[in-house]
């Protein structure tokens, strides 16, 4: 059977690729140092497929139809969607068998993911994938989540999603070695008078909950409460799902930097 050999989360921001140097060097070194640690773990643990959950930023779906979760089941997907991101655009090999198994397994557990044979992967997925696997040696199964357009999946449901993903990975036939990565958050505002603000108190509190394994205290948070840390903070759904998949293993916080020039609280954790 397949094995989940790495579970981790990282914030994403377009500027971590397109304006990397705009962050102070100390912050940059600590944040990218944490991602370098994960990159080494990915290699050392001989990961064969990376599954990344990230927010859908109107890249694949618009208001005609907006799934809460969509799993990329295609043989390949295109990324990054943004030509200005600073990452070379191109096809990234998928893992159709695993993607279809994840979809079927989630359906069997009462979740109803959409699926896509061709996803365009924007900064949400590609910035983190590029850091973890710059040569694209691992196949990539993208999963986009609705973290932006109400009504949103409740956090408790995101937890259920993560539990179901773990069951699905564990039940996949073969010897696939899987990394499950949540990409997004932490606090930030976009298209809002507070764009550029970072709620460092929220970010540190959230990371501390993951590190203490106190995820129960997160799951009843409503969208009205989460949004106090920014409309971009809804992206913690991806982190909650990965925390669930890794449970009961708590997170180790590898880095946290409130990077003003990237308008985002940038965290990196590993569940180990």
């Amino acid at each position: 059977m397949a094995e989940l050999v790495l579970a981790a989360c990282s914030s994403h921001a377009p500027m971590m690729a397109s304006a990397r140097e705009s962050a102070p060097v100390e912050q940059r070194d600590r944040f990218f140092g944490a991602l370098a640690h994960l990159r080494a773990e990915l290699a050392e643990r001989r990961v064969t497929t990376t599954v990344i959950l990230a927010n859908e930023h109107f890249t694949n779906f618009f208001l005609e139809s907006f799934p809460q979760v969509c799993i990329g089941v295609g043989e390949r997907n295109m990324g990054p969607a943004e030509p200005w991101l600073g990452i070379e655009q191109g096809w990234v090999e998928g893992n159709p068998a695993l993607g279809e198994h994840l979809t079927a397994s989630l359906l069997g557990e009462g979740l109803d993911p959409a699926f896509s044979h061709r996803l365009d992967m924007d900064h949400g997925i590609m910035t983190v994938y590029q850091e973890l696997d710059p040569q694209h040696r691992t196949r990539l199964v993208p999963i986009v989540q609705n973290c932006a357009v109400p009504p949103l999946m409740p956090l408790a449901r995101s937890w259920d999603l993560g539990v179901a993903l773990r069951h699905a990975i564990d039940s996949f036939p073969g010897d696939e070695r899987v990394a499950l990565i949540g990409a997004g958050g932490l606090s930030h505002w976009v298209g809002h008078p507070r764009v550029g603000d970072i709620d460092e108190e929220f970010d540190r509190w959230f990371l501390a909950r993951l590190a203490a394994g106190e995820t129960e205290s997160l799951l009843d948070m409503t969208d009205d409460e989460i949004v106090l840390a920014g409309n971009g903070a809804h992206e913690i759904r991806s982190w909650v799902a990965v925390a669930a998949a890794a449970a009961p293993t708590p997170a180790t916080v590898l880095a946290y930097e409130p990077v003003s020039s990237w308008i985002t609280g940038m965290g990196v954790v590993e569940f180990a």
Partner: protein, 91 residues
């Protein structure tokens, strides 16, 4: 003349720009209210915010029409609302 129509219009404008095909975009084909049409014609970021344009789209629209984040933050400052609610993380 719906919330959807305004969003579809702005989204299509952004996508046309991103693909270098703004020549194919025709605002007159969208059913916009006079206020929405004025916001579009005048590239009025503040008006779009007041009309309820989604933040992700507003952010992308600002990039397309040449507003930096600092610039649009300044434009939107009059709409900042003091928040008296507190999250559970706030001491």
């Amino acid at each position: 003349m719906t919330w959807y129509d305004m969003h579809r219009c702005v989204y299509d404008f952004i996508r046309a720009n991103e693909r270098g095909r703004v020549d194919l975009f025709d605002v007159s084909t969208y059913d916009l209210t006079p206020a929405e049409r004025a916001a579009f014609d005048q590239r009025d970021v503040a008006a779009f915010y007041e009309l309820g344009l989604h933040g992700v789209l507003l952010n992308r629209y600002c990039r397309q029409v040449g507003y930096s984040r600092d610039a649009y933050r300044e434009i939107l400052q009059p709409f900042a609302v003091a928040e008296d609610r507190r999250g559970r993380w706030q001491s």
